[in-house]
Amino acid sequence: MVMSRMDPIAPPREGDLMTATAVKPTRDEPKIRAKGVSVFYGDKQALFDVSLDMAEKTVTALIGPSGCGKSTFLRSINRMNDTIEGARVIGEIEIDGENINDRSIDPVLLRARVGMVFQKPNPFPKSIFDNVAYGAKIHGLASSKKEMEEIVEQSLERAGLWNEVKDRLHQPGTSLSGGQQQRLVIARAIAVSPEIILMDEPCSALDPIATAKIEELIDELRSNYCIVIVTHSMAQAARVSQRTAFFHLGKLVEAGETEMIFTNPRDSRTQDYITGRFG
């Protein structure tokens, strides 16, 4: 896999693929394709035979009650489940037609392509600058100090944080407010030029204004990335996503256009969940 590029911030372009074996994506092909994915934690099966396509330049929201498997599914997209003792994933997850569970795939490089943002902002105990520069540094994305400064500035700019932090880049990342920290973490994720951004309840620890800023950011990032977001807020799923998938008891119950899911879902379980009748 070749990681270095002329402009490390540029979104992935067609013909700018990271692996030689990857199939060139066309408009119709999904960015991520899950086929019959099941996940076991020891003897316990957490996810049952989930097949779901997630498109380029689209926000896909995963919704469902606690323990429904939506986070487990999200974590299988960048092989985060590998880090859990006793976790086993069967089925296939393809990114641009390439199976990410293939032996030849280095999970560290995979996670550079597939960035992740967690529920609680988790900035490193370093300066704002170093937080954003960290990933770019370990992946060798910048060849000079100036290039690194460009990466940091552009990433913070894209995360909508640049104007708020440009005069204090060397203060600790933890000195920022919760909402700013979450945007810092998003800046850190996009600094390594990922193709996909996974978000696991990115706003659940934030106030409504900070939430609105993140949602606005998600909408902007959508033009360049494939975004998959797990959220407990139905209203948030409705606001930010174009497609929604509803999980229940480890199974994918229904997936479709967000508008359809929230106005006229096909399955009665989806109906009951989104109208607040169980969950």
């Binding site: 106005t263 607040g276 009748r277």
Partner: protein
């Protein structure tokens, strides 16, 4: 349908359905009394119809307030959302039906001053038909049955045909005896009001279909045009 986890949400929706049922009941009674007032020249009954109209208007205002509150505080989704939005539209349809029934009742006074005319029977028959349409569409709403609503929707053609033949009949009377023109003109307005009530019933039927299935009925229904068929 199962209860909401937040039970007051279910209670709010039921409360709204209650308002709509009261409006529907009022509209139904007003319509049948207006027809009866015309057919039997019962002016006192006609007056009560006119006097009842503000009740429907007030209920509509109340229902709209509740719907606004539901949208703002509960953010209903899926079927709940469709139920809320269709209640808003159906309340407006029922309010219009109330107005039209009131207009029919008002004409009872004018028709009372002129001699008996044969066309009155035709109007009474049409009134009965429209009354049945209204009753059935309201039943379909309270039972939330898209099939029944669909039947009402399809049967509006019959109302239109009735209107068309009544129109021809009344015009014939006018030609035969110009002294009846004034009365006949009033009768035509009554018939037109009934035809409009029929249209409001089909609008309600369309809302019920949307509420239950999440899909729209086709916008075009076969129409009989009284203007072109003469």
């Amino acid at each position: 349908m199962t209860e909401h986890t937040v039970r007051s949400f279910s209670a709010d929706l039921e409360d709204l359905s209650g308002d709509l049922a009261r409006m529907g009941g009022l509209a139904e009674d007003m319509l049948s009394d207006a027809i009866q007032a015309i057919a039997t020249r019962d002016l006192a009954l006609a007056d009560t119809v006119v006097a009842r109209d503000p009740q429907i208007d007030n209920l509509q205002v109340e229902a709209e307030k509740k719907i606004l509150r539901l949208l703002a505080l509960r953010q209903p989704l899926a079927r709940d959302l469709r139920q809320t939005i269709s209640a808003l539209k159906i309340a407006a349809e029922l309010e219009r039906i109330g107005d039209l029934a009131k207009n029919i009742a008002k004409r009872a006074k004018v028709l009372d001053t002129i001699g008996p005319i044969a066309a009155l029977k035709g109007v009474a028959r049409m009134g009965k038909l429209v009354g049945t349409q209204l009753k059935q569409v309201l039943d379909a709403y309270s039972a939330q049955e898209a099939d029944v609503a669909g039947k009402v929707w399809a049967r509006d053609e019959e109302v239109d045909e009735h209107y068309q033949s009544l129109f021809r009949e009344v015009v014939t009377y006018m030609i035969e005896d110009p002294r009846t023109i004034s009365a006949c003109a009033h009768l035509l307005f009554v018939a037109k009001n009934l035809e409009r009530i029929g249209d409001h019933c089909t609008n309600i039927a369309e809302e019920i279909h949307f509420l239950v299935t999440g899909e729209q009925l086709p916008t075009e229904r076969p129409k009989v045009d009284a203007l072109n068929s003469n």
